[in-house]
Symmetry: C2
Subunit: 206 residues, 2 copies
Amino acid sequence: MKKIVSKKDIAHLDQRFRANFINSIEGFKALNLVGTIHSNGGTNLAPFNSIFHIGANPPLIGMVSRPDTVDRHTLENIRSTGQFTLNHVNETIYRKAHQSAARYDTNVSEFKAVGLNEQFINGFSAPFVQESKLKMGLELREIKTVELNGTYIIIGEIIHIEMATNKISEDGFVDIQQLGTITVAGLDAYYKTSLLERLPYAKPLM
Amino acid sequence: MKKIVSKKDIAHLDQRFRANFINSIEGFKALNLVGTIHSNGGTNLAPFNSIFHIGANPPLIGMVSRPDTVDRHTLENIRSTGQFTLNHVNETIYRKAHQSAARYDTNVSEFKAVGLNEQFINGFSAPFVQESKLKMGLELREIKTVELNGTYIIIGEIIHIEMATNKISEDGFVDIQQLGTITVAGLDAYYKTSLLERLPYAKPLM
């Protein structure tokens, strides 16, 4: 059986249904906990599944923030401090990571609310997640507004990486599956992975 | 054992090593084959792992294109026709998908070169991948330039969806694992997935 959905069909869907549907057909995504700090010292933690690669030199990562959700604390903190952390979610902490998406009051730190520990690194104000096995500290480089729907694309440069392994392949590859990193589909479906294979650099055969 | 990598360390890495390293620490990513067509009728296919969610209403997807690689055919075609397709990669076709990244001549269609079949849908010029089990047709809405490194963020609106299943959960969720969709880490490591669980909408507990 196959199913075809048109632009008109999509427009007529119930809002929550559409959010689940569109999010789930986009494929498996990188799941990271984003850690930030307010100028008053209050910390904030929120899951983001819209992390994407922009470049390796300099190492630039993008992520999307909506202005109308809990994400806004993250956005405000990044704007005012210029820093944020990305922390891979592993099998041990994904339920806590999911719970950190709840709409807590501004004066509640999601770290405390969900039971994850803050980790601070010299010279960097934004909090890392101690339980994460691959974490990055980023400095804000640019925020782009997407006028089409009022979202923001936050672009940061990786300035610090901490991994719970010292194994890096000769060619630079890090096995994030071995670090327990998981992936997400839709808004709430969590998956572990199993390696099929690594393939060699592709060259034309004809 | 743990490993710490600084901004300075990253800057001093060999270029190919750095590309593998930075790409592999960003988490598992959505892998899609992007189908486009030239105004002369020549088709083009290329794998992209930088697909990200921008919004559900309207349904907007972003992806990153570098100007200095094979991606440029994709970018040029999208610019001139205003259309492209996204096709999930499954376990049966991932080797062909990987091979489509090779730098073929402009007059060679990657569809033919790697052995995937073009599928055309009435009223839409860009080619879909017949072997893909979840495919989307998108219309270009905007291209943003990232001045930081000369890349482009292509933003498209989903106007057509075709799935090899008619199973959509009551809440809008589509099980892409059941469709065989796989995920990628780094530039060349392919993984299948295994569901841990879906979690209910998160609400504050305190």
